[in-house]
Assembly symmetry: C2
Homo-oligomer: 373 residues x 2
């Protein structure tokens, strides 16, 4: 596939970190990168002009939620998701597979597809890989993901093995069904925490004509350390000339360590979801803005941060907004937390280009910012 070329412009000598450029129908995407999540065609509380200013390159949206409301036909009628949500840079849609498995109480899985119930109105739906491709092509993101079967943690190995096979079979059907020339299609590697199943998954789909690969089935409840036991070899086994996207990871330290393992793309609701709960990311580690220690603190959230929130608002004011449940608290914290991850990944890109990523990561891991989120 040459329609969506991925060009490596630097690789780190001492780690597996890569600095690349993926060409999409809505411009170049510089990796490694973090993608803010706009579940229902909106990054909660953040206008797209602010996302522009924050330097977001790709927004992720969720096929499951968009399928239920407002529906893919309506989005197509609006001129596609970019027009509908007023975002002129790249968009990625997940397939919805993960949400079906994690949200639906009752689902029926078969070789042919998955039957599930809507969380909105309880209505029944049946998705084949072909139907999922139809939906994602109507939505019109720049990058679509194959329909896959994501397994939980912990899970029996036989179940994970079956999911690896099924995901590969569905991936092949997605490739056949996918015809939209301005949309890249990524395959998804499964296999849970089992190294042999991860390799089997890559053997099944690694050589197929996908524009990139999602790495799914991590960050589903297992300790981060356990993920890192297999993530480096998963990356090493994937084709070098295609981007690798570790799905659902947004913890800053995990992102930086995964970049060192060879991951190129990340997404997570963590920065915006924790913002709505009053949490700020910072170079001194996680801050709970409900805490009384900030009542008389008129400094910025993070003295090292250059974001609009930190330039204009104090910890004291943000604590006031959070404790009085004012929308602006969630808005300002969401923008700050997104800036934090977007800036962090921009600095990671610069470090890889300069050949200093190992030192950059070492500094990070020994800093107070490396606390877990």
């Amino acid at each position: 596939m040459t329609a969506f070329p991925y060009k490596l412009i630097a690789t780190d000598a001492r780690t597996s970190a890569r600095r690349g450029v993926l060409t999409t129908a809505h411009g170049e995407v510089h990796t490694p990168l973090f993608m803010p999540v706009g579940t229902r065609a909106t990054v909660k509380g953040v206008q797209t002009d602010k996302l522009h200013e924050l330097g977001a390159q790709v927004v992720l949206s969720n096929t499951y939620h968009l399928f239920l409301r407002p529906g893919p036909e309506l989005i197509a009628e609006a001129g596609g998701l970019h027009t509908f949500m007023n975002w002129d840079r790249a968009i990625l849609t997940d397939s919805g597979g993960f949400l079906i498995f994690s949200l639906a109480d009752t689902l029926k899985l078969s070789e042919d597809g998955v039957e599930f119930r809507s969380i909105v109105d309880g209505s029944k739906h049946f998705w084949t890989p072909e139907e999922n491709m139809r939906i994602q092509q109507l939505i019109g993101a720049d990058i679509a993901m194959q329909l896959d079967q994501c397994t939980a943690y912990p899970e029996e190995k036989d179940v994970v093995r079956a999911a690896v096979k099924r995901s590969a079979d569905w991936g092949k059907r997605c490739l056949v069904a996918h015809t939209r020339a301005d949309q890249a299609l990524f395959g998804i590697v499964q296999g849970g925490v089992f190294a042999d199943l991860r390799h089997e998954s890559i053997e099944r789909i690694g050589e197929l004509n996908f524009a990139g690969f999602g790495i799914g089935g991590y960050s589903v409840g297992e300790p981060h350390e356990l993920m890192f036991e297999t993530l480096p070899e998963v990356c090493a086994a994937l084709p070098k000339d295609k981007p690798r996207y570790l799905m659902g990871v947004g913890n800053p330290t995990t992102i930086l360590n995964a970049i060192a393992a060879g991951v190129d793309m990340f997404d997570c609701v963590l920065p915006t979801r924790t913002a709505r709960m009053g949490t700020a990311f910072s170079s001194a580690g996680r801050m709970n803005m409900r805490n009384a220690q900030y009542i008389h603190d008129f400094g910025p959230l993070d003295p090292e941060c250059s974001c609009d929130t930190c330039q204009h608002y104090s910890r004291s004011y943000i604590r006031h907004l959070v404790t009085t449940k004012e929308m602006l608290g969630a808005i300002l914290l969401s923008q700050h937390n997104l800036h934090y991850l977007l800036d962090l990944t921009a600095r990671a890109r610069a470090a890889i280009e300069e050949g200093s990523y190992a030192a950059f990561l070492n500094d990070w891991n020994s800093s107070p910012a490396a606390h877990d989120y």
Copy 2:
């Protein structure tokens, strides 16, 4: 009082509309104007950079709410409300009197002041006019309002008469207690729907050394027509060289008709509160964005509107946001509704300058936009 001069730059020949400029410590304020309400030091869902872009000249904040949280001492410690909330244009604080009377289940009123309970934690507080001035001076708005007694509608005339006298007595004590040189102090006219009591109120305070006058006790439940039976003579009886502020009025048609009666300033939560409920102001009248008629409507909220929301987002998208309870729906509608009133009052100012206000008002009153909100 010359510290906060109010200069009339145009008066309309056929109505009592006036075009003026009030000088405050944070710049000139061009009247007539609408002031967005930022109850707890934030206009709900709207960042101050957006308020700038929208052309807001004054933001109103509520002394009652700020007194409870975060407290006036904290705001003073932050450097005043402008610094605390990141707003560099003018601010007006109400005295909190209206909220005490409308929110508190139990309050004890005496000649000396008012005892009330906090809606936050039930704690008891006692405000004298002097204490209220101390609080408002700590908060540090450009315009403070005297503590007054606002009466409801309907109300016994004797009760309203007593409130007129008490408000005047408290106004005089506020004038004595108020010492902050960079803050203007407005008196408040009461009297309900009784013309003679309105005149009595103005006789008691109209010649006092206030920088302007609030007109309170309207828009408390009475029909708009009833207000207009006395509002013109209230305006006519007030000093010509001081601004007149009709408190709590935000209905577009009422604003324009009140301008014709001689009112200069307005505030109301209407544009932002209705926005959070999914209502858009428009040149075609009120729109309920939950309505199914907008599902496939890809036009702007108001084709005649130049706001950012109308330039970039469709009715269909906003309906999607409102029905899925996404914050962005309230944000975009709040900005649009504020723009609507700020633009409307800017056009009113231009019409007065051009000597065409009567025609402007006639056109409005015969347009679909004149529907009630």
